[in-house]
């Protein structure tokens, strides 16, 4: 399997939340414990329109959660770099939550353990996109391979609402926009 990256285009996201529900539906999660979240940005400062950004685990190349886990319940799959969680090994110590700079690990209070996005590897192995990507109406959320990443010049590591942490090397990129806040449209008011 190839190494993959999430790609997100803030100018296309319509904030419909379909990606969250698709993840919950596909992975049979409880509705209040989603692995993916959608944030409204910036915090309504009066000068800019609201942007939305959809984030989950970024399947870092050097994942802090894996390093922090004392039970080897988190691991990076050698074949594709996907960071997966093995519930049977999880101690519920939550060290991974403290280590993750993106707050991507979810606490499952009913099971007293954590949970996280596994990039729908079962779908990837069938040749399908992850559920969140497949459902995205506006194609704001995409997935590309490492080879495709290397051939593209329109991608950047950071955007409003997302800081690149070079120490963990998150596998997410953003479409470069001159000014994503104006959505490329005329506006009054």
């Amino acid at each position: 399997m190839k190494e993959r990256y999430f790609v997100f285009d803030t100018s296309l996201c319509i904030g419909c939340l379909g990606c969250i529900a698709a993840c919950i539906n596909e992975n049979r999660l409880q509705g209040h414990q989603p692995w993916r979240r959608v944030f409204k940005l910036p915090p309504h400062d009066g000068d800019h329109d609201t942007l939305t950004i959809s984030l989950s685990c970024n399947h870092c190349q050097e994942p802090a959660c894996v390093t922090a886990c004392p039970a080897n319940a988190l691991m990076k799959r050698p074949q594709d770099g996907i960071v997966v969680h093995e519930p049977d090994l999880c101690l519920g110590c939550r060290y991974c939550q403290m280590a993750c700079p993106y707050d991507a690990i979810v606490w499952l209070e009913d099971k007293e353990m954590v949970g996280k996005c596994h990039m729908c590897w079962h779908r990837l192995e069938r040749g399908e996109d992850p559920a969140c990507v497949a459902t995205c109406f506006s194609k704001a959320l995409q997935m590309i391979t490492k080879e495709e990443l290397d051939s593209r010049s329109d991608l950047v590591r950071e955007t409003t609402g997302f800081q690149h942490h070079p120490d963990v090397k998150p596998r997410i990129r953003f479409i470069k926009k001159e000014n994503p806040k104006d959505h490329g449209r005329d506006q009054n008011g």
Partner: protein, 684 residues
């Protein structure tokens, strides 16, 4: 259903213009796996946040599963048998009939019943007509005044939204936010943009659709007649119309032309509080971009006092700009596929002074006591009808309120004497039309507990009323096959539909009005409507100031200075499933009502993001959390229409006269958008 079998149905939400396709699989552990139907012509395997979460409806532990009866003195609920519940209902209906007041029993069926199209269009009206009771339809709060405008002009034919988006040069979302109300429109909207076409959104708010549009025009709320008529003014002044077409295929154009002369762009810019350049640019789009299509999918404009005239004003731009009868032109809205409506048994309905399905008539009937019994089928008046303090008082006076629903909704909880457990969309065989196609909604699982489908208990109730031929069919399949015997549906049978997850195309013209014969008395497009004048409405699309408006009612605005906008987000469909709180995924995403407020208004009131406030006016009040955002204009606030808090302050005023509804069968939508409120921070 066998484990591992895949069956097909449609999504149980009534989004317009499309109901997306679903494929359903029952897994060995009892879970119901729902995915998008890849064969569906429009949704193509995609489901939105609601459709993805819909399995929770069927599996919810909070479903109503047994009939309940309330002790009025103590307020407590106890289990009752179906026969006992139906006996009580039959006794009350019979008593009204024996007293010569058959109209005093009213059946209100709404979107929960619309999920199953045959229940909505045929089997429920059939029961009400054969029993001889009042029938009110949940379309009146939703979109009915848009329908009046359609009928007054004679333009209500159906364009295929996908085809239209594929062929249009410009799509105007006029007071429509499809990315919130029908997210499956988003790929089609974006495709127009990617092809170099224009996507224009006209809305005072920065909506989700506005955010991906090429142009966003933000007129002052309720001034759409001025905007549309000023565009018409420019097209006429500059001669950008076909005078031969106007003479041959339209009615009243000379009167319209004279009328439009007064709607100057300069004055319109003042009224709408936008720039003259924006109006001129919009007019230029109508001239330069052909075909051009206007998305008027449903309700928003109809929720204004001036709503009928707004929609008429916008519709007039279609023939004026030469966009009739061409693919990619015209207007996009919901389905107009009809079933075999002879089965509604309207001719069998005994004569009586039934209050018509118009909110003015409904409010009067409840206020004067001419209705004493209310049967609510898949509806939630104590969330979705206006002026809830007034309605609460009216419902308390009734002799009997019975509610049939999936969940303990606001009306069941607060006002019902009898509560009946309903089936969901996977638990009965049904049909759906979506866009231009007919789909089977297969029965996939058995209903839990004592949940029964509407036509089954209506049949039992009909028999108690001495009606033996309400359900004369030997099976639901036979019933549906007969419902399909209409001009539009004649190609379809249940057996055929079961083999075709892509549905069957209805027999309706691919492009409406290609022959330029319209659905009006004159068979022409009616710029001037004689019928409107007879009903006391303006015969031409005219601006009428709202009863409550920041500028138009300045004295009231001094006390209540914020204009309240009723809005829509992806997480809800009206108040379905107890304002989506029974669906854990949706509840987690929007756990409580949010009032959207501009930073300047928040600053003036000492309110910070996340504070709770009290929204109030002369009718009522509600506690509500506040989100500060520039998505709403200054001096406006906005609240999603799923929450009953909205209707604590709305007015029970419907501008469309009941006589229009009596004659046309539609009209009477409350003016939900004409509301002034004030907000104060909680604790002050």
């Amino acid at each position: 259903m066998e484990m591992g079998d895949i069956k097909y149905t449609t999504c149980p939400y009534n989004c317009w213009p499309i109901n997306c396709g679903q494929q359903v699989e029952r897994l060995a552990d009892g879970h119901i796996a729902i995915r998008g139907n890849p064969h569906h012509d429009f949704s193509r395997g995609r489901l939105c946040v609601k459709g993805q979460s819909s399995y929770e409806i069927a599996l919810s532990k909070n479903r109503l599963k047994v009939p309940l009866q309330r002790n009025r003195k103590s307020g407590t609920l106890k289990e009752i048998s179906w026969p006992d519940a139906l006996d009580q209902m039959a006794e009350k209906i019979t008593c009204n009939i024996d007293n010569g007041r058959r109209e005093a029993t009213a059946l209100y069926h709404s979107h929960g019943n619309i999920v199953q199209r045959i229940n909505w269009k045929i089997l429920t009206p059939r029961f009400a007509n054969m029993a001889g009771i009042t029938l009110w339809d949940g379309n009146f709060p939703c979109w009915y005044d848009v329908g009046v405008a359609q009928q007054l002009t004679g333009y209500w034919g159906l364009h295929d939204p996908a085809e239209n988006c594929a062929k249009t040069r410009a799509l105007i979302n006029w007071a429509q936010d499809p990315c919130a109300s029908q997210a499956n429109m988003a790929p089609y909207v974006l495709d127009i943009r990617e092809r170099g076409g224009q996507v224009i959104t006209i809305d005072p708010r920065v909506t989700q659709t506005a955010a991906i549009s090429t142009k966003h025009i933000r007129p002052r709320l309720g001034t759409d007649v001025w905007l549309a008529n000023s565009v018409a003014h420019i097209l006429i002044r500059e001669g950008f119309y076909d005078s031969d077409y106007m003479a041959q295929y339209t009615y009243g154009f000379p009167d319209y032309k004279k009328h439009i002369d007064t709607f100057t762009p300069a004055r319109a810019a003042e009224v709408c509080q936008i720039s003259l350049a924006e109006i001129e640019s919009l007019a230029e789009t109508f001239v330069q971009e052909k075909p051009l299509c206007i998305n008027l999918t449903r309700g928003a404009l109809g929720k204004h006092l001036n709503g009928i005239q707004m929609v008429r004003a916008v519709l007039c731009l279609i023939p004026l700009s030469g966009n009739v009868g061409i693919q990619g032109g015209g207007a996009v809205w919901g389905e107009t596929v009809e079933w075999n409506l002879e089965l509604c048994a309207l001719k069998e309905k005994p004569p009586a002074p039934y209050p018509v399905n118009n909110f003015t008539a409904i409010d009067e009937a409840l206020e004067k006591g001419s209705v004493n019994t209310l049967l609510v089928v898949g509806g939630n008046p104590l969330s979705q009808w206006p002026n809830l303090p007034r309605l609460r008082r009216q419902l308390q006076k009734l002799d009997l309120v019975a509610v049939y629903d999936l969940f303990m909704n606001h009306t069941a909880k607060e006002a019902a004497d009898i509560i009946l457990p309903a089936t969901c969309w996977l638990e009965e065989l049904g049909l759906r039309t979506s866009n231009r196609r007919i789909y089977l909604m297969d029965k996939i699982i058995d209903p839990p507990g004592q949940c029964r489908e509407a036509s089954a208990w209506m049949n039992d109730l009909a028999q108690r009323l001495g009606i033996d031929d309400y359900f004369p069919w030997t099976s639901k399949e036979e019933c549906l096959d007969q419902c399909l015997q209409s001009d539009a549906c004649s190609q379809a049978t249940v057996a055929k539909l079961r083999k075709l997850p892509q549905g069957i195309e209805a027999n309706i013209p691919p492009v409406p009005y290609a022959d330029h014969t319209f659905d009006s008395p004159s068979r022409k497009f009616e710029f001037f409507s004689s019928r409107a004048r007879e009903w006391g409405l303006s015969p031409l699309p005219t601006f009428e100031p709202p009863l409550e408006g920041r500028i138009d009612t300045p004295e009231l605005a001094q006390e209540f200075p914020l204009q309240l906008i009723s809005s829509r987000r992806n997480t809800h469909f009206h108040s379905f499933h107890n304002s989506h709180r029974e669906i854990e995924t949706l509840r987690a995403l929007e756990p409580e009502p949010l009032l959207y407020m501009h930073p300047k208004d928040a600053l003036a009131r000492g309110i910070q993001d996340g504070d709770y406030g009290i929204m109030f006016n002369q009718r009522g009040r509600a506690r509500i959390k506040i989100e500060i955002t520039t998505e709403v204009p200054v001096a406006h606030v906005s609240l999603n229409d799923c929450w009953p808090q909205l209707n604590e302050v709305t007015a029970a005023y419907a501008p469309c006269p009941p006589q229009v509804t009596a004659d046309l069968g539609i009209g009477g939508q409350p003016a939900y958008q004409n509301v002034l409120v004030e907000i104060r921070k909680e604790g002050r």
